[in-house]
C-alpha cells in the first residue's frame, strides 16, 4: 500500500482505506511494552466503528483509565458495548479484556467430557499453568481471537463481528503465538509426551517398566528431579489433556491460517525512542519472515516541530537575548526542537527498512489519553498518515 489519504507522500499508512476494506476482518497491534499499543488498538477500533463496522476490540491488559473510558469496569472475558460511540454510519463498538485463566478453562470445557474437564480443572499442574505461568497469555489471546472470529449472530447466522481489533501482550514473546501450531505439533508428536501419557493409560507399575525400558532409567532421573508426586500430577494432566489436544491444535492451526491470510492486517506500534524503534524493527522482520500480512507502522507520541519555523539553535540564541518570561518561553521551544530532532534521527531506522513499511506518526499530547474524545483525536491523527519526518542534519 502506498500513498496516504492526502495523496502527497508515498510510504504513508492509509488507515481509512484499510479499515473500509470489507475483506479486512482482523487487525493485530503488536510492538514492545510502553509504546501505546492498547491505546492504538482502541483508537483504531473506535474509528472503524464510527466508519460503519461492527467492531470488537480485545485488549490484554489495558491501563485502568483507558479501560474505564471504554466502559470496561471488570475483567469478565465477554465483549461489552462501549457507550458514547457515534453509530450513525451503522457500526458499533464492543470491548473486552482477556481473562487468561477463564479462557483456558473454557477451552478445556469445550473440548472434553464434563467429567474429564472437572478432572483437568482440579489438577494442580493445570491450575498453575493456566493462571500463574507467563506465556499462557499469548496462546490464550490467540484462542480468544479464534473464538471471536467464529462467533455468529444467532438471528442471521452471519459472523457476529465484522472487524476484530486485538493488541498483543507487552513482551518480546508477543509473537510467540506465531509458533504455537508448530510447537504444539512437535510437542504432541514427541516421544516425551507419549512417555508421559503412557502411565496413566497403562497403570503406574507398567508405566515404570515401559518408561524405564524406553528411556534407559530416565524415569528414575525424572523422579529424582521432580519428585514422584509431580510426575504423577503432570502425567494425569497430560493424559487428561490428550483428548482435547487434537482440537486445540486444529484451532491453533486455523488461527494461524487466518492470521497469515488476506483478512488480517498487522500493525507494528512503536515510540520514537531507541529501544522501542529497535524492537519495532525486530517485529517487522519477524512478521516478514513468517509471511504475515504487515500493513504498516504506527509511531506514537512523536514530538512535532510545532507551528513555529524556528530551530533549536535559533530559539536558544533568541533566549540568550531575551528577558523573563520571554526567555523561558523560547527555552520551552528549544527543548521541544531538540527532542524533535533527536526523535527524527532515531526514527530513521524505520525509514530505512527494506522494503519500506507504510508508516504514520502520531503527535505527542501534553496529557494522558483517558477518554473516548482523546481516542477519537488520536485516530484522526492516525488517519492523516503523517510520514516519518526526515532527520535534520547534524550541526
Amino acid at each position: 500500500m502506498t500513498g496516504g489519504v492526502t495523496g502527497e507522500v508515498t510510504g504513508a499508512l492509509a488507515i481509512d482505506s484499510l479499515l473500509d476494506d470489507p475483506q479486512l476482518r482482523v487487525v493485530v497491534c503488536t510492538g514492545s511494552g510502553g509504546v501505546g499499543k492498547t491505546t492504538s488498538a482502541a483508537a483504531i477500533a473506535l474509528r472503524a466503528a464510527e466508519r460503519g463496522r461492527t467492531t470488537v476490540v480485545l485488549t490484554i491488559d489495558p491501563a485502568r483509565r483507558l479501560a474505564q473510558s471504554l466502559g470496561l469496569a471488570e475483567l469478565d472475558n465477554t465483549p461489552r458495548p462501549v457507550a458514547g460511540v457515534d453509530t450513525t454510519a451503522g457500526g458499533s463498538l464492543a470491548a473486552m479484556m482477556l481473562d487468561m485463566k477463564r479462557t483456558f478453562d473454557e477451552v478445556v470445557q469445550a473440548h472434553s467430557s464434563p467429567e474429564k474437564a472437572q478432572q483437568i480443572l482440579a489438577n494442580p499442574f493445570y491450575q498453575s499453568l493456566s493462571s500463574s505461568f507467563a506465556g499462557t497469555q499469548e496462546y490464550m489471546a490467540m484462542e480468544k481471537l479464534g473464538q471471536l472470529r467464529a462467533q455468529t449472530d444467532p438471528a442471521t447466522g452471519r459472523p457476529r463481528w465484522d472487524l476484530i481489533v486485538v493488541d498483543t501482550p507487552p513482551s518480546r514473546s508477543a509473537l510467540d503465538f506465531l509458533d504455537a501450531p508448530d510447537r504444539l505439533g512437535s510437542f504432541l508428536d514427541s516421544r516425551f509426551l507419549r512417555l508421559l501419557s503412557a502411565p496413566a493409560k497403562a497403570g503406574s507399575r507398567a508405566y515404570v517398566r515401559v518408561f524405564s525400558a524406553m528411556a534407559g532409567g530416565l524415569s528414575g532421573v525424572m523422579n529424582r528431579i521432580l519428585g514422584a508426586q509431580v510426575l504423577t500430577d503432570v502425567q494425569a494432566f497430560v493424559a487428561a489433556l490428550d483428548t482435547m489436544f487434537g482440537g486445540f491444535r486444529q484451532r491453533a492451526e486455523q488461527t494461524y491460517t487466518m492470521l497469515a491470510g488476506r483478512e488480517t492486517a498487522f500493525l507494528v506500534v512503536a515510540a520514537p525512542e531507541a529501544d522501542a524503534v529497535r524492537e519495532a524493527a525486530y517485529f517487522v522482520e519477524r512478521l516478514r519472515a513468517e509471511d504475515m500480512p504487515l500493513a504498516g507502522l504506527v509511531v506514537n507520541r512523536v514530538t512535532g516541530a510545532g507551528a513555529v519555523p524556528l530551530s533549536a539553535a535559533e530559539a536558544t540564541r533568541a533566549a540568550d537575548a531575551a528577558v523573563s518570561p520571554a526567555r523561558e518561553v523560547l527555552l520551552v521551544h528549544a527543548r521541544r526542537m531538540h527532542r524533535h530532532d533527536a526523535e527524527a534521527r532515531v526514527m530513521q531506522r524505520l525509514s530505512r527498512l527494506y522494503p519500506p513499511v507504510p508508516a504514520a506518526v502520531i503527535p505527542a499530547r501534553p496529557i494522558d489519553v483517558t477518554d473516548l474524545d482523546s481516542l477519537r483525536s488520536i485516530a484522526a491523527d492516525l488517519a492523516q498518515g503523517r510520514p516519518i519526518p526526515a532527520a535534520p542534519a547534524v550541526v
Binding site: S132, F133, F192, G227, E273, E314, A318, V329
Partner: protein, 352 residues
C-alpha cells in the same frame, strides 16, 4: 539505595520507562567503592549489550565496565542453557540431559511450559548469589558483592518473583521443593530489594502502584521508586500558573519575544503574531505537562517508599551510552550518601 547489606537488587518497571538503563546505572553505582557487581538480564532481549554498546553477551559473566574501583559484569541468562547446566551440575546428567533434549523435554520445559522458564531464570540468579569467589562451595567470600537483575516488566514481576512459591506448592516434596523454597527465602529476605522504575505519566505510575501493592501482598521486600527522565520545569511557578491559564498573553510577552528573535537574527514573518501565538501555545502545553507530572509525583508519595529522581539526560531518545550511564550512577551515589547531620536538614533537590 546502595545499602551494602542488600545483595540482590531487582529492577522492574513498565515497558518504556528505561528499566534496563536504570539497572545498568545502579550496577555502576554499586561497583564504585570497589565491588564486583553482576548485572543479569532474563528476557532474551540483549538489552545490556545494547546499553553498553557491546556485541551480544554469551551465557557467562562478561566484564562490561569498570566503575570507580570496582567492575560490572553482564550476564544474559537463557532458560535452555540454564536447564542443561542445572541438570548437569545437580544431577550429573551429561548423557541423560542429551537424552532429555532429544526427546523434546528441554524444549517442553522452556517453551511449552513457559512458567518453567521463570523457575530456571530465578534459579540462575540464586546460584549467582551463592557462588564463591574461589569457585568452591563453603563460606569463602562471594563471587559477587551484589547482583542487579534487569527483571521482567511490572505487569509480570509479581508472577516472575513468586514462581517458586507456585512451584513449591506443585512439588510438595523432593529436591525441587527444597530448591524452590530456598529461592523464595532468598527473594523475601532483607538482603533483597525490588525497585520500580517509572515515568511521571499516568500509566507507568498506575502500574507502579499496582505492582507495589502486589509485591507487598506477596511479602517481597520493596526498595525505592526510581523516577526516570525527570525534566525540570522551564518556567517559574508564577509563569507556569499564567501559562496554564491565560495569563501569559501575547500583549505581555509578545514584544519581548519579537525583540529577542530579531536580536538573534531570526526572520519574522508578517507581524510575527502567529509566531508569538504558537510559542505561547507551546508554553501552555509545557505548563499542562508539568502540572500533570506533579499530580503523578503526588500519587507516588502515597506509596511511602523512598523516591529517587533521575534527570533526563540530553540525547536520551537516541539511546544511552556508557558516559550517560555513569552520569546516572553519579546521581544514585549522590542520593545514597548519608546526609551530613544538620540542625535543620534541607530536602535535597534530587530526593523527595
Amino acid at each position: 539505595m546502595l545499602d551494602p547489606t542488600i545483595r540482590l537488587h531487582v529492577v522492574t518497571g513498565k515497558g518504556g520507562t528505561g528499566k534496563t538503563t536504570v539497572a545498568a546505572a545502579l550496577a555502576l553505582a554499586l561497583a564504585r567503592d570497589g565491588g564486583r557487581v553482576l548485572l543479569a538480564e532474563v528476557e532474551g532481549r540483549q538489552g545490556l549489550a545494547q546499553v553498553f554498546g557491546r556485541a551480544p553477551l554469551p551465557y557467562e559473566a562478561t566484564e562490561l565496565a569498570r566503575s570507580g574501583r570496582g567492575s560490572v559484569h553482564g550476564l544474559a541468562v537463557e532458560a535452555k542453557a540454564a536447564l542443561l547446566e542445572y541438570l548437569d551440575v545437580f544431577y550429573r546428567l551429561g548423557r541423560a540431559g542429551r537424552t532429555l533434549e532429544r526427546l523434546g523435554a528441554i524444549d517442553f520445559a522452556t517453551t511449552i511450559a513457559p512458567g518453567l522458564r521463570d523457575v530456571l531464570l530465578t534459579g540462575k540468579v540464586y546460584d549467582a548469589l551463592r557462588q564463591r569467589a574461589d569457585g568452591r562451595r563453603g563460606d569463602g567470600p562471594p563471587a559477587w558483592d551484589a547482583v542487579v537483575l534487569d527483571a521482567p516488566p511490572t505487569g509480570r514481576i509479581a508472577r516472575f518473583l513468586n514462581v517458586n512459591d507456585a512451584l513449591a506448592g506443585l512439588a510438595r516434596m523432593g529436591p525441587i521443593h527444597g530448591q524452590a523454597e530456598s529461592i523464595m527465602e532468598m527473594l523475601t529476605s532483607a538482603t533483597t530489594a525490588v525497585h520500580v522504575v517509572t515515568l511521571l505519566e499516568d500509566m507507568p505510575v498506575q502500574e507502579t502502584c499496582d505492582a507495589v501493592a502486589e509485591l507487598a501482598r506477596l511479602r517481597l521486600p520493596l526498595g525505592a521508586v526510581l523516577v526516570n527522565q525527570v525534566r525540570p520545569a522551564l518556567l517559574t511557578e508564577a509563569d507556569l500558573a499564567d501559562a496554564a491559564g491565560s495569563g501569559l498573553t501575547a500583549a505581555d510577552v509578545g514584544p519581548d519575544l519579537l525583540a529577542a528573535l530579531e536580536a538573534a537574527g531570526v526572520a519574522i514573518h508578517g507581524t510575527g503574531y502567529e509566531m508569538i501565538a504558537a510559542l505561547l501555545d507551546e508554553a501552555a502545553q509545557h505548563a499542562r505537562r508539568v502540572s500533570g507530572e506533579r499530580e503523578q509525583a503526588e500519587r507516588l508519595l502515597d506509596l511511602e517508599m523512598p523516591i529517587v529522581d533521575l534527570p533526563q539526560l540530553p540525547g536520551v531518545a537516541e539511546g544511552m551510552d556508557v558516559t550517560a550511564l555513569h552520569a546516572l550512577a553519579d546521581v544514585l551515589v549522590a542520593v545514597s550518601r548519608p546526609a551530613p547531620s544538620q540542625p535543620h536538614p534541607q530536602p535535597s533537590p534530587v530526593t523527595r
